[in-house]
Symmetry: C2
Subunit: 455 residues, 2 copies
C-alpha cells in the first residue's frame, strides 16, 4: 500500500509537470478519499494545492478534503480563497464542516459562514455550539425524518427525494409535528413492507437514542453493543437533532483507546492526536506532571533505603538486589493494572465482582511470587553465598509481587467505583506506590532477619 502510494505520487508529480491534466483528473477520480489522503503523505503541499485548484467539482473536493488532516485542510482552503472555500463547506457533511470551522480562528470561521446560504450556515453553527466529546459535537444533521402518516411506498418516494442531502438513508426517523422523535424504520423493513401499509403500523417505537449533551463514548458503546448503523441524537424535549453514524463511532472508539493508553503511562490526557506533531516544549510539558509524582515517589523510596543504611552498611550486597525487587514489582503491578483497566473498558471485568476479582488476582500474584521467589533465593545464595540474604530476597520478592498484583487490581476497580477514570490509576501511579512498598518490605525484612540470625 505505502509502496503503491509512493509510486503513484511520483507519477502525479510528473503529470503535473507535463500538464497532462486530463490523465491526472482520471487518476484522482478513481481514488477513494482515504486513498487520496494516503497519497498526500507523499506529495509536497504545493502540488496538493495545485491538484485541488484543477478539480472543479465542489462535491468531489469536499469528499477528498474530509479525509485530510485539519492542518492540510486549512492550507488548501486558504489557497483556494474564501468564495471557493465557502462553496466547498456547503458540500461537506455538516459534522465535517463544523470540525473544520472549529479548528480555524473564530474570525475566519465567521467570514466563511457569512458567505454561505443562511440556512446551511445555521445548521453548521448548531453543531459548533457543542462542547468537545459530547454526542452533539460529532452528530450531523443530514438525516431523513418523515411524518408517521405516510405509507411505505410514499416513504420510499420521499427518501428518493431527500437522499442527495442525507448522510444515510438506511435508517429513517419518524417525527411528530413538533419534530419529536417517535419511531425508526430501517430501509430494509420499508422495502420488505406492503407498499400500502402505514409506516406508523410497523415502525419501531422503542427508539434507542442519546442526548446531545451526553458523552460521545456513550453513543459509541450503544452502536457497538446494539450493532446499529446509526443512532439518533435528541434534546431533553425529545426533539430529533441529528444522527451519529457507525463510521464516526469507529473513530471515537479508536480515539478513546488512544487516550486510555496514554493515560496509562501518564503521558497525560493532553497527549492526543495533535500533540504527536507538536513542539518538543509542549510535548515535554504534557509529560512532566506524572514524572514529578514519580520523582516524589523516588525520593520517598530513597528515604526508605536511608532509614536502613545501617543494614546496608553491614550487608552491602542488599544494594545489588534493589533493581530486581523494583523491576519485578513494577512489572507485575503494570500487568495487573493493565488487565484490570482493559477488562473494565471491554466489560470483561465487572465492578460488582470487586472482591472476587481482587481475590483471584491475589492468587495469581501468589503463584508468580512463590515461583519467582524460590528462583531468586537460589540465585542470591549462589551468587553471594549468603543464605540469610537468599531468604530475605526470596521472601520479599514474593511479598512484593503479591502486593503489586493486589494493588494493581484494587486501584483501577476502586477508581471506577468512585467515578475516576481507572486508566489514570494504571502506570505511574501504581508503579510509584509499588516502588515505595516493595523497598519497605525488602529493607524491613532485611533489617529484621539479619538481626535475628546474627543475634
Amino acid at each position: 500500500m505505502e509502496e503503491k502510494m509512493k509510486e503513484l505520487s511520483e507519477k502525479i508529480i510528473r503529470l503535473l509537470e507535463e500538464k497532462k491534466i486530463q490523465e491526472l483528473k482520471e487518476i484522482i477520480d478513481g481514488l477513494y478519499p482515504t486513498e487520496f489522503a494516503g497519497l498526500t503523505d507523499y506529495l509536497p503541499l504545493e502540488q496538493i494545492i495545485e491538484i485541488f485548484k484543477l478539480l472543479k467539482d465542489d462535491e468531489k473536493i469536499a469528499e477528498l478534503l474530509s479525509e485530510l488532516s485539519s492542518e492540510l485542510q486549512a492550507n488548501i482552503m486558504d489557497a483556494l480563497g474564501k468564495e471557493k472555500a465557502s462553496d466547498i463547506l456547503e458540500e461537506m457533511d455538516t459534522d465535517e464542516a463544523a470540525d473544520f470551522l472549529g479548528e480555524i480562528t473564530p474570525q475566519e470561521s465567521r467570514e466563511l459562514l457569512d458567505l454561505m446560504p443562511k440556512e446551511e450556515a445555521e445548521e453548521i453553527e448548531e453543531l459548533l455550539k457543542y462542547e468537545e466529546n459530547t454526542a452533539g459535537s460529532i452528530m450531523n444533521n443530514e438525516f431523513v425524518a418523515l411524518p408517521e402518516d405516510l405509507t411505505a411506498e410514499e416513504a420510499i418516494n420521499k427518501i428518493r427525494e431527500l437522499s442527495p442531502e442525507a448522510e444515510t438513508i438506511y435508517y429513517v426517523y419518524i417525527v411528530d409535528k413538533r419534530e419529536r422523535l417517535i419511531g425508526v424504520i430501517s430501509l430494509r423493513d420499508l422495502i420488505m413492507a406492503n407498499p400500502k401499509a402505514k409506516i406508523s403500523e410497523f415502525m419501531e417505537e422503542d427508539v434507542v437514542s442519546v442526548l446531545d449533551t451526553e458523552d460521545q463514548e456513550t453513543a459509541a458503546r450503544i452502536i457497538a453493543d446494539y450493532d446499529f448503523l446509526a443512532i439518533p441524537v435528541i434534546d431533553r424535549k425529545g426533539t430529533l437533532l441529528g444522527i451519529i453514524t457507525v463510521d464516526d463511532i469507529i473513530d471515537v472508539l479508536q480515539e478513546e483507546v488512544t487516550e486510555d493508553i496514554h493515560k496509562m503511562v501518564g503521558s497525560s490526557e493532553v497527549y492526543e492526536d495533535k500533540l504527536i506533531k507538536a513542539s518538543p516544549l509542549t510535548r515535554a510539558k504534557a509529560r512532566l506532571p506524572w514524572l514529578f509524582v514519580c520523582m516524589a515517589g523516588g525520593i520517598l523510596s530513597g528515604s526508605v533505603i536511608k532509614l536502613h543504611s545501617d543494614t546496608l552498611q553491614t550487608v552491602m550486597a542488599m544494594a545489588f538486589f534493589i533493581p530486581i525487587i523494583m523491576a519485578m514489582g513494577g512489572n507485575v503491578g503494570a500487568q495487573s493494572s493493565t488487565i484490570a483497566v482493559r477488562g473494565l473498558a471491554t466489560g470483561q471485568l465487572r465492578i460488582d465482582e470487586l472482591w472476587y476479582n481482587i481475590w483471584t488476582e491475589t492468587k495469581v500474584g501468589s503463584l508468580i511470587g512463590i515461583i519467582v521467589g524460590i528462583i531468586i533465593s537460589l540465585v542470591a545464595l549462589i551468587w553471594q553465598d549468603n543464605y540469610v540474604l537468599g531468604l530475605v530476597i526470596g521472601l520479599s520478592l514474593c511479598l512484593t509481587i503479591i502486593t503489586a498484583a493486589t494493588i494493581g487490581t484494587l486501584l483501577p476497580l476502586i477508581f471506577t467505583k468512585i467515578k475516576i477514570d481507572p486508566a489514570i490509576a494504571a502506570g505511574p501511579f501504581i508503579t510509584t506506590i509499588v516502588d515505595v512498598g516493595s523497598l519497605l518490605i525488602y529493607f524491613s525484612l532485611g533489617t529484621f532477619l539479619f538481626k535475628w540470625f546474627s543475634g
Copy 2:
C-alpha cells in the same frame, strides 16, 4: 443501566416463580439481544435455561444466543437437546453458528451438523475450515449476489426475495457466471437509479475486497478507513465467498487493541478475552515469560552495582538515589514507547520518518532531562549536603531520561521495520534495557566524578 438490569432480573425471577409466562415473554420480546445479554449477568444459569425453554421461536432464540458468551451458549444448547439445538443453529447467522461450533468438541459439532439440512451444514462447514484471525474466519455467507444483466427494478425485487436470508442488503454484489465478484452497488444507488437502467451500467466495478486467507485486521482497517458498511471476501480466483460487516469489524478492532495493550505490559498474547476468567495457574503461566526476562535484567543491573561497590562503600548515599534513577528512566521509556506504538497503530507516526521521529523524541527527552536533572541536583544537594553527589545525580538522571526517550522510540520503530510487532518492544523489554542502561550511567559517572573531585 446495571441498576436497571438488576431490577429487571429480580422481576423475571419472580415471574418465573409465579409462572406468569405471558408477561415474561413480553418483557423478553421488548429487549434487544445486547440488553438480554446484560440481563443474564444477573440471572442464575437455571433461570436462563428455563427462559430459553419457554421461548418457542427459533429465530428469536438464535438472535438472543448470539450475544451470549460461548460458555453460556454451550450450556443452553446442551439443556435444549440436540434436535432443538440444530434448529437454532440453522437460524443463526452462519458466522455466529461457526463460532459456536468451533468452541465445542469436534464430535458434538459433527452431531449437530448432521442434524441440519445438508446445504446449510455445508455453508457453516466452509467457515469452520478457516484459521483463527483470518478474514475467512469472521465472514458470513449470507450476502445478496446478483447477475449483471438485471435492471434496477428487477434487482430490487430480487433483493426483496433474498432479504430474509441475508445479513445485510445495503450492499449488493454483482457476480459473473462463475460466481466471480465483478461489481458492487449500494441499495441507496439502486433506489436512486432509473428503474429501467441495467445494473451493469452503474455498478462500481472497482470493488475493494479482501482475500479469505488475509488477516482479519486488514479487513478491519479497510472498513474503518473507507467508511464501508461491509467488505466482500474472495478467494484467489476472485470467487465471492462471503462478506464481513461493520459490526463484526468493531469487535475485531477492540480485540486487536486489547491484544496490543496486553503485549505492551508483557502479559503475553495469550492473555486475551478468555484468559481473564481462566485458572490462576494458567494466568500465572501466561505472565511469567516476560517476568523472567525482567529478572535476568534485574540480575544484570545488580551486577552493575556490584561492579561499583567500592564507590558505593565510600558514598553510601549513592544507594538512596537508585530508585529515582530507575523509576524515572522506566517511566520516560514507557511513555516514549507507548506514544510510538500507538502512533504506529493509528498511522500518526510513519515508519519512513524514522530518523525524524527519533530526533524529535530525543529533543523532548533532553528538555525533560534538563528540567528534572536540575531539580534532582538541588534535592540531592540539600538532602545529602554533597555537591559532587548533586552533580552525579543531576547529570545521570538527565542522560538516563534522554536515553530512555530515544530507545523508547527507536525500538518500536525498528521492530516495525523488521516486521516484528512493535507492541512487544514496549513495556518490559524497554524497561529492562533502560534499567540496566541507567544504572550503568549512574554508577560509571559516580565512580568517575568522585575520583576526579577527590583526586
